[in-house]
């Protein structure tokens, strides 16, 4: 087990509790700040959203590091064990980039399909097209309301 004495290890644990709780509170505060719950005007500043988003990801990774290294004792394991467990997760960086990119391009294609659908609607083929993309969508014509 650890290279710390029992008393030292006990101290690390309660420090960890305070640290994790504090980081979580900071995360929630900044998340609400970006959404305009603390100061309403901040909601409209886009770059701030990205900045706070990156900060939240950073803080979460820090929490993960702390849990793995202190609570799960990875710090006290042999380096080979740590590397054989941690290095494979580096692959996930590529997965994140690739799939988010895919999601983005999907979004632009979705818009294209929707535009095409609108063209069909004008030709009076509403029934046929309605269920293609969004089954929960009700297309409301202006004449129906007024």
């Amino acid at each position: 087990m650890g290279h710390l004495s029992y008393e030292e290890a006990k101290k690390v644990v309660y420090k960890g509790l305070i640290l994790l709780a504090a980081v979580t509170l900071v995360e929630v505060f900044f998340s609400l700040l970006a959404k305009g719950h603390v100061i309403h005007e901040l909601k409209y500043i886009t770059w701030l959203h990205y900045l706070i988003g990156l900060m939240l990801i950073g803080l979460s990774l820090y929490k993960a590091y702390f849990i793995i290294y202190e609570f799960m004792h990875m710090r006290y394991e042999v380096k080979g064990l740590a590397m054989s467990v941690l290095l494979p997760t580096v692959l996930l960086i590529w997965a994140v980039i690739a799939f988010f990119q895919e999601g983005n391009s999907w979004k632009s294609r979705r818009q294209q399909i929707q535009e095409k659908n609108m063209e069909e609607v004008e030709e009076g083929q509403l029934q046929k097209q309605e269920s293609m993309l969004l089954e929960d969508t009700y297309i409301l014509k202006l004449e129906d309301v007024i």
Binding site: S5, S31, L81, F100, E102
Partner: protein, 310 residues
């Protein structure tokens, strides 16, 4: 203290050393190493789910705002964004800390300490599960979210709501805000009598709202900005993937917590019986259980980030 630890460590290594030739790989016992590799594979499973959430969120023109969706708490608390789920996070963090204490007492071969701290951990885990049960009940029962229906939509343009009579009200909203499509109240189904006499929620088109076959009331509004300004539109369901992803991913995590609680319970009983004292390996089973339990907390860090914070 230090010497007794070293003695234990030597015994530990000796008693475990025969799982391969001569020395145990990475100076860890077979069980501990395999627990690490199981957790690694589980991490990939969760990462796959969370990346799928991200990809679908990127692919949607709109996405429900989390601090609007998750703003209710028990005892009638509303408009308290993320507060309840923060409490849930604290419960998991605290139970993680009590688990570390159990492992430490195990290394000291203190049976009563192990049992006490494991019991605390079980209480933390059970508390988290109860909170999740409440959260699901609220989403399914009161807000009518399901795997295929997501009544949480988001405005893509600013506008003003219509009154039930179809005239402009003073209820304005901005683009990017989220709304919840309510269901016609159960008591109002026999419309025409009682206190709901003035509003007719029968399926079909009404001046200020549209009621679909399932009873969801889509309120109508007048767009006040953008190319469609002046048009009358109505609230639409949000991206349906949201409900499926939410229930599947938090459900999968909750299932991990549940199995964790079951195994914690079994190992606590074994520890209380003195089984691990007789093995004289520093309660290694408790340590392996600890690894799993911390992993559940670790996953929650990312579920919390992806579903609630961003």
């Amino acid at each position: 203290m230090a010497t007794s630890d070293t003695v234990l460590e030597q015994q530990d290594v000796q008693s475990q050393s025969d799982w391969s030739g001569g020395k145990p790989a990475f100076k860890a016992s077979y069980g501990k190493l395999m627990m690490w590799y199981f957790l690694l594979s589980d991490a990939f499973t969760f990462a796959g789910f969370l990346i799928a959430y991200g990809a679908l969120r990127f692919s949607s023109p709109t996405w429900p705002v989390p601090d609007f969706v998750f703003s209710t708490a028990p005892f009638g608390v509303h408009h308290a964004p993320l507060i309840f789920v923060t409490i849930m996070s604290f419960l998991l963090i605290v139970s993680s800390v009590t688990m570390v204490r159990a492992v430490q007492e195990g290394h000291k071969e203190n049976k009563n300490g192990v049992v006490f701290w494991m019991l605390m951990t079980i209480l933390g885990g059970a508390g988290f599960l109860s909170c999740q049960a409440w959260e699901w009940t609220n989403l399914i029962g009161s807000e009518h979210m399901s795997v295929t229906t997501n009544p949480f939509g988001t405005y893509t343009e600013g506008g003003v709501y219509l009154t039930p009579e179809g005239e402009e009200s003073d209820e304005v909203f901005e683009s990017g805000e989220s709304y919840l499509i309510h269901k016609a109240h159960e008591g109002a189904e026999g419309h025409g009598d009682g206190e709901h006499a003035e509003l007719d929620y029968s399926p079909g088109d009404h001046p200020g709202y549209f009621v679909d076959e399932r009873g969801f009331i889509h309120r109508k509004f007048k767009v006040t900005e953008g190319p469609d300004a002046g048009m009358i539109k109505m609230e639409q369901f949000g991206p349906r993937a949201f409900g499926a992803l939410f229930f599947f991913i938090t459900g999968f995590h909750g299932f991990h917590v549940f199995s964790g609680v079951v195994f914690l319970f079994i190992i606590m009983i074994n520890a209380a019986s003195g089984l691990y004292m007789r093995r004289r390996n520093g309660h290694e089973m408790v340590e392996k259980m600890g690894l799993y339990w911390h992993f559940v907390d670790l996953v929650w860090v990312f579920v919390f980030l992806v579903f609630y914070l961003l």
